[in-house]
Symmetry: C3
Subunit: 145 residues, 3 copies
Amino acid sequence: MSIMKPVKPGQLFMGKLAHGCDLLEEITNICINENIKLARIEALGAVQKACIGYYDQNAREYQFIDLDQHLEITNLVGNISLKDGNPIAHAHITFADETGKAFGGHLASGTIVFACELLLEALEGPEFTRGLDEETGLPLWTMSE
Amino acid sequence: MSIMKPVKPGQLFMGKLAHGCDLLEEITNICINENIKLARIEALGAVQKACIGYYDQNAREYQFIDLDQHLEITNLVGNISLKDGNPIAHAHITFADETGKAFGGHLASGTIVFACELLLEALEGPEFTRGLDEETGLPLWTMSE
Amino acid sequence: MSIMKPVKPGQLFMGKLAHGCDLLEEITNICINENIKLARIEALGAVQKACIGYYDQNAREYQFIDLDQHLEITNLVGNISLKDGNPIAHAHITFADETGKAFGGHLASGTIVFACELLLEALEGPEFTRGLDEETGLPLWTMSE
């Protein structure tokens, strides 16, 4: 069953990420520092290299793909919620190479920022906590109706 | 002429869609249930298979492409407005396959959710109603200045 | 160092862009007309042709790619800030062709709208001004901690 929860807007943050930082880890660190437990995130920019995940729905595990090239980030979309009590960023990302060809997947550690503009919209609401979802094998939100 | 209307933020909803549901129909159903007539939507996740549209600008009709494979949703962006008095979701979607290669288009029925995290931001404002636009052949908003 | 600034929500605008307009220039003109100096933008739609940039991180210059074909806009994400005292739009865009194959990059002038639905969320906050960033060669925000 689909479950949608009412949430309220919280503090907004806009800015740029450090050249050379790990994109996923940096977003997580910002949320820890700002004590953000629930948020939406979006970004654009460029990376020095990327690591993306693809979830094998049959094997129920992520495969990771290293893209060892300079890429534009044409889009990053994601959210912040809690896992084991700590803020965790879940984001998907789309890239383009020097021919304009697009790639994408689940943002993984090892994606290194060249330049990145981030918008972080904190949200207020019930706790969104990730736990193992038996149906998919993924760490989905454990919310009930 | 471009026409932009001032709108105001309404109720925010964040949550997850049911494993196995039809992505486009489920978003529409949520809006009907919550009585939402205007909104922005965004999502990320994965699908069991996808159906996307490409609008042939010369023939003035959609061509539909079936992607019968497991794909990551790297981005979904769209809106809710009214058509024939009922909420209608218009969304475009980007996918990535197991090699990271990206695909996309106009979200059509037949796109089946594996897992999906949705943010729905209701908006308050003038009625946004879709009707035939003579210039493009598309069901665009019939607003005037 | 990553630098994130608190900002506040401002006026929201939702609407459609004129058939045949230049996507980047039209967004900029709307912001000039509405006196918007800081904002987030998102869009979906279709274009008659596109021009996208890829930043060569070694040569420190943009390469531009002309896509002389009808394409769906599967996503546009970006922001408005100031450069030399005037509003400037920075957006990245993802397209899909008639086979569903995706392309993308830095939105450049020469991208001509077939149909486009735009959401513009003005923001209030400190001035975000672009100036040359020595580390990357890009016109990044010149904010300090």
